[in-house]
Every structure is written in structure tokens, then in C-alpha cells.
Amino acid sequence: MGTANHSDAAPQRIDLSTLTPGFSDGVHDSQGVFRALLEALSRPGTIVSIDAVLRDLRTQGTVPLAVFASLLALADYSTPVFLQHDEHSLSDAVRFHTGAPLTTDSKQAVFAYLHDAASMPSLDAFSLGDAETPENAATLFIRVESLENGPPMLWSGPGMPCPRAVCVAGLPDAFWRERAGLASKFPCGIDCYFVAGGALIGMPRTTQVEVD
């Protein structure tokens, strides 16, 4: 499994008495979530609702449902997951249901959940992939306050027939500057999902965002 390479300390015991149950129908639920994530990334800027395909998935604490569902669907033993904040209900559930190792080293992370965009690590702290293996780049799930009430920004690129105004709220200016700085490294780069509750917006590395 190679988990020892990914975690710095011995993993804590999973507390089963409070563990959040996972998908009720593992195969079909994860297929539905995967389909929704694919839809979000192939049509950047559209709001995709993930909870529509899940009948009775619940989360604990402040973790958005869409993040929990996405990690359940995507993560496995070969994809180290980086969690920005120490929320046991999420880390235990990810470890138990997916077998994915948690990592505190953002460079090793294949998936990352960033609970607080204002204090997230800079984007180049994550893996951007190599020229030959750009698919090894990290995918970030960033929690935002709202997908509709933020300042409008013009997005353009593949998947959008014409530029589209997207109103994600609560991202620091530094994030957009760092992201614009990665454009020259294409095909390397980072794919992001902005998550609020049970809905998300995908932003692949090919999307250009007009930054003031």
C-alpha cells in the first residue's frame, strides 16, 4: 500500500462509533458522482448539483456534502488526500471508506480539500504534473461561501462556447493571480472545483479567467 511514504506520523485509530456512513449503493452512487464531476469539468462555470444523485448521504460538521461525495467517489489507496483542516469526521470517513492515505505534504496530494480559501497554501505547493505526465497534477476542492453571489468574473476557454460570467464568492485575489501565473506551464496545471454545500463548479486548467 505504501502508506508509510505518505503520512508523517502513525495514523490514528478510526473512531467507528461516530463514523459517517458512506454511499448506500457504492457502485451506482460513485458512478453518478463521477458523472457529475465530469460534467462540471467539461462545462466550466456551470453549477452542478451532486446531491441530486445521492438519496441519503450525510456529512458531519462543516464539510460540504459535495466534497465528501467526491472524495468517496474518486479517492482510493493510490491517491494521497490532503485535508487542510483537521476534521475527524471527514478524515476518518475518507480513510475507512476509500482506503486513501492522508498526507500533510501538499506536493504528494492527488486530491486536496481546502476548507478555508483565505489561508490555503499557494498553488505551486501542489503537484502540477510533468510535461510527460500532466495527469499527475493535483485536483483541488475549495470550499467557497457561494457559487452565485460573488463578484462576476469572465471565464473563457474549452467547454464554453462564449465567455461566461461566473460569480464564485470568497476566493482571495492571490489565488487568481497564482492561477494566472500557472497558465504558461500548460499542459501542467491544476484543476479546481469550487464547492458550496451539495453543488460545485469545475474550473479545469484550460479555463482563462479575466483578472483585474
Binding site: 467507528l16 462509533s17 461516530t18 463514523l19 456512513p21 458512506g22 448506500s24 449503493d25 457504492g26 475507512f96 471508506h97
Partner: protein, 163 residues
Amino acid sequence: MSISAQALDPARPLSRQEWMGVLARTSREQLEASLTDALDGKALPAFDWLRAPDIGLAMVRGRIGGTGDAFNLGEVTVTRATLRLRLQDGNGPVGMAVHRGRDKERARLAALADALLQTPSLEMQLQERLIAPLAAAIAARRAIKEAQAARTKVEFFTMVRGD
């Protein structure tokens, strides 16, 4: 292996490791019947799946003579399940089962039995009426096998040569 090799003392309540071993060696029909009987026909309690029964493969490793280098003997199908009892005042004990084979219903029953055995009000009742008879049945099957094998035992004698 060490668990199965131990003789189970019928007077002593079994540890969780031992009762899981007993449940893992019991067929589904027997588990079904014994569990209903041990609960006096009461309905099985409500529970939430933490991990619904799923089927996978496990690699069995062996050592020749118990001392040589470990080698991969082959893969076996295993079914595993984890559930948590639902009590009025919140979450109850967590039961687990990992079995050879692909019988999901059997894994469900064994995980339920494991959870019920961790419920203080039911533990003694289930130890006496579920686990003890099943452990005795396993011991009896084992004794028959051993007796059958013992009959085929051949003693070799080497004559001391007289020179």
C-alpha cells in the same frame, strides 16, 4: 491459525477475537437459525451500514513447515461487512465480519451477532445460547476430522542395525 488451534473452554466466555472466529466458521443456515433462537425469536435490531457487504480477494500466504520463507499460496474470495446498531439514544456498538466466500447475507448476520455480543445487556445471553453451541459444533466437527485422520496414521519403525 493460532485461534483455531486453541481448544475452546466451554465454561469461559469467549473474547471478541474468539467469537468472531466462531462466527466465521459457521454456515449461513446455522447462523440464521441460532441467532433467531438465541434472541428468543425477537426481530433483529435496526442498524446502519458503515460498509455494506462487499466481495474482494485476499492473498493467502504460507510457509512450508511453518519456518521457511513466506510464499503466496493463492487468492481467496472474502466478504466483509461493517455495521453499527441504531439505539434510541444514538449510536450503538459496531459489528464487523470478514469471511471466506461470497455470501453477503452471512456476513450481515455475523456482523450483527458481533455487534449484539458487544451490547452489555445481551452479551451473556448470546455467549451462552449462540456462541457456546456453535463453538461446540465446530469442536465436534474438528474431533471427527481428527479421528478420521488418526486412523490413517502410519507408524514407522527403524530397526537398530546390530553392527
